[in-house]
């Protein structure tokens, strides 16, 4: 049938503010099912909250950060939170915790923190770059 393509998904809407985490995950699963490759998931703006290790939704509701991180781990897809967005919004890994002398770190594995250069790379190397914004 069709040739296999490579995708990058950019998520800018936060979970529990927008539907972006859910819509993007359903789409990501369909990308894999269709035999395509997911090069990278890039969290930008409010989207970085998807990488929080401390979200604790009610137990009868889907846990989007957990579901997304399991999906990334299972398929070995890099999940990147934009560093400028993440630092302002209080999402930090151990390295940034140390650098800014903060009391804790809260980045959920396997998400990593990196710069917009990762997004630029996606625009150059992925066949498709799709964006998942909030709808407010």
């Amino acid at each position: 049938m069709s040739t296999s393509l490579s995708y990058t998904l950019v998520i800018t809407g936060a979970p529990w503010s927008s539907q972006a985490a859910q819509t993007s995950l359903a789409f990501a699963r369909a990308v894999i099912t269709a035999g395509h490759r997911l090069d990278r998931v890039f969290l930008y703006g409010d989207g970085v909250h998807l990488a929080s290790a401390l979200s604790a939704p009610p137990s009868d509701e889907p846990h989007w950060p957990q579901q997304w991180s399991e999906f990334l781990s299972e398929h070995q897809i890099p999940g990147i939170a934009c560093i400028a967005s993440a630092l302002r919004r209080g999402l930090v890994d151990e390295r940034e915790q140390a650098r800014y002398e903060l009391s804790a770190h809260n980045l959920r594995a396997p998400f990593q923190i990196a710069g917009l250069g990762e997004w630029v790379d996606s625009t150059l190397t992925s066949d498709r770059v799709l964006y998942f914004h909030g709808s407010a």
């Binding site: 529990w16 503010s17 927008s18 539907q19 859910q22 819509t23 009868d60 509701e61 889907p62 909030g134 709808s135 407010a136």
Partner: protein, 116 residues
Amino acid sequence: MTTLIVIDQAPYGTWVGREALDMAFSLAAFDQPAALLFIGAGVAWLRRAQNAAGIGQKTLEKNLSAAPLFGIEQLFAEQTACERFLPDPDSRVKGITMAGSVNHLLEQYDHVVFAG
């Protein structure tokens, strides 16, 4: 002290409407008079036969139907918005009071609140 909670955003795509409902139910739980007003795309909350399981959310139509039981005094809907988004009266949940004039309604409450 009467409070009117206003919902002007469509369901499920954002969280604001849901958080507005939580505010209304909280007032009711503390026996405070509360009513809800749906305007603009917010009237889509009032459509029957919602089923949000496929998008991983709770269907909130039931919560609305239960609103009177929990002590929420009234559900108002902007008439022009209903004519636009829910023209068929059978498509609407029961127990809605049509508001022909939104500003007239706003004047009747001590607090008028958007959730976000």
